[in-house]
Symmetry: C2
């Protein structure tokens, strides 16, 4: 079985964003929007997926995608806390409907109603609802809800602990994933995403978060940002700081996906990072949508690179494609039973 | 000849930082410091280098280091514009003295008196002085003088153009290099540095800066941050945006150093990025000071990785070790004549 740990609903019908825009407009005009409804039919959902994610699953031979709302439109920096809550609720409901329509193809991960300056306690009800009522198996956690101004405390700060306590209780991991950037310095998918991955890893490296939460698990997407490429730098920094071995640091708590869109990058990732800490992911349909003229295949068809990774043993590939997802997102096992 | 394009004066006698701290204290106490003096003798300078940079040059077999003030202490976010000017002036004077003491071993690159919110016009006099009077061959340009709050416009914004005009006139490149971070999210050498590298590359990718300045040259240090590891992502993003080939984008304008502290990373860098766009660099003595137990050698002894890179032709290695530095920093040729 092949589980893709990193898919966002990037092909939603325009009604979804239109709802959010209307909410923001009411607020901008001095009003207070109510939650309201998002009118999208099942047929619209099906149509948006059949020619995209489902088609690529079939073509590429992947089975199940761990699926969450569009990351770049979480847009935690827009509106206010109430709108963030309504927006996360609707986005998660849509993902739930997709997982009901295609239970063989998608399992849900939720968006949290984060808002800059608001402690993550406000996310707990939605996380509980998503897991207990919508059958979701994890969440996306934005380390920078300000959208590129980085005004929140580091992920290792006690500020975040109430959310971590709930994650541990529910036995769900978080993918560390920023949203769009409102800082003109940072292109979202070309800089902000990768910077956040790198930043989060370094935060984890310099604190004792996993002593406090031994079972807390994070997936750092996009192949871990800059981290595997600079593994020697991080090993050396950890050594200089007396923080031990990276393999010990990450063992039960930090995992990288395989959203690296060329063979040389996948090679480095899989040669450097233990196979126990890598989850297959493609971010399909996502940041890069074209076909690589050097290979004739989609850049984000990351399964193909792994299939060709002859240095990986069969057992290691099985972990990357399936076993580690079952370990990191254990609630998936009930779904697959 | 082996030219290390990336060395900072990280081993300065404590008097240097003490001067800066005293300036900042006067300001904090409501005073207005005058430029004052930094009292460091030639013997102190020699002692600080003999057991460190010079020793490593000899041991590792490198010849000449392109040497600049300590990046993490540029600290453009501290003090005010005047103090930034005094501080850059003193730091550059110290580097000049080192290049006079050891003309065979060091050639200078200057610190700029940047300050958050101040346009880079204020850097032009110091850049001219450094190049014309102190014999320096380039500058370090901080894309985020706020120290982790990223409040300046992107490097491709016209905000920066006055400085670029002067760089082009003087025929000197800039290394894109942030300083320390006052944002608790970003560890300086483990996150902020690499994020800045990634960010700058993506800024260059999405704008037409090099149409406006065809001879403007930037070195993106630390192996280009996350960029080579995500080369497929960047090729794909450029393709989706109609920005052409990365090799065309970087050809005459963007260069990466080799400050990547393990063989797998150097392998990826040198297999993916054209050898015309790579400059040997070590950042010695810098971010990582230990010996790698996996190899028995210093992490930052990057010459060793390149020596072992059997896939590189002799001609390619010569470019990386010498030719590209002469091309990117052409004023070095007069020094070496």
């Amino acid at each position: 079985m092949i589980i893709d740990c990193h898919g966002h609903y990037t092909t939603a019908p325009p009604e979804l964003e239109a709802y959010h825009n209307a909410q923001l407009k009411i607020l901008a005009d001095g009003g207070e929007p109510s939650k309201g409804t998002v009118s999208i039919t099942d047929d619209q959902l099906k149509e948006s997926l059949e020619g995209a994610q489902l088609k690529f699953q079939r073509e590429r031979g992947t089975d199940l995608t761990i699926f969450s709302p569009r990351a770049s439109r979480m847009a935690h920096h827009l509106g206010n806390e109430t709108i963030a809550r309504y927006w996360a609720g609707h986005c998660n409901d849509i993902i739930f409907r997709i997982t009901e329509l295609y239970p063989e193809n998608f399992v849900g991960v939720c968006q949290l109603p984060q808002f800059p300056g608001v402690g993550p306690e406000n996310c707990i009800p939605e996380l509980e609802r998503a897991v207990k009522e919508l059958g979701m198996i994890g969440c996306n956690l934005n380390p920078d809800p300000s959208g590129g101004h980085w005004t929140s405390p580091p992920l290792t700060d006690r500020f975040w602990y109430p959310l971590y306590e709930k994650m541990v209780e529910l036995d769900v991991p978080a993918m560390v994933h920023v949203s769009s950037s409102c800082n003109p310095n940072f292109h979202a998918t070309g800089a902000h995403y990768l910077n956040a991955d790198t930043t989060a890893f370094m935060q984890f490296l310099t604190a004792d978060l996993f002593s406090d939460f031994p079972t807390l698990r994070f997936v750092i997407p996009h192949g871990g940002g800059a981290v595997p490429y600079h593994w020697g730098r991080y090993r050396g920094i950890a050594q200089d700081m007396g923080r031990g071995l990276l393999t010990d640091l990450i063992r039960d708590n930090i995992f990288f996906d395989t959203c690296v869109y060329h063979m040389a990058g996948i090679r480095l990732l899989t040669k450097i990072v233990p196979s126990d800490n890598i989850l297959f992911g493609s971010e399909m349909v996502g940041a890069v949508r074209g076909v690589d003229p050097e290979t004739g295949h989609y850049y984000d068809d990351t399964k193909r690179y792994l299939d060709d990774a002859h240095w990986l043993k069969k057992k290691e590939k099985k972990k990357i494609f399936e076993g580690n997802a079952r370990k990191v997102y254990p609630r998936i096992n009930a779904k697959l039973a």
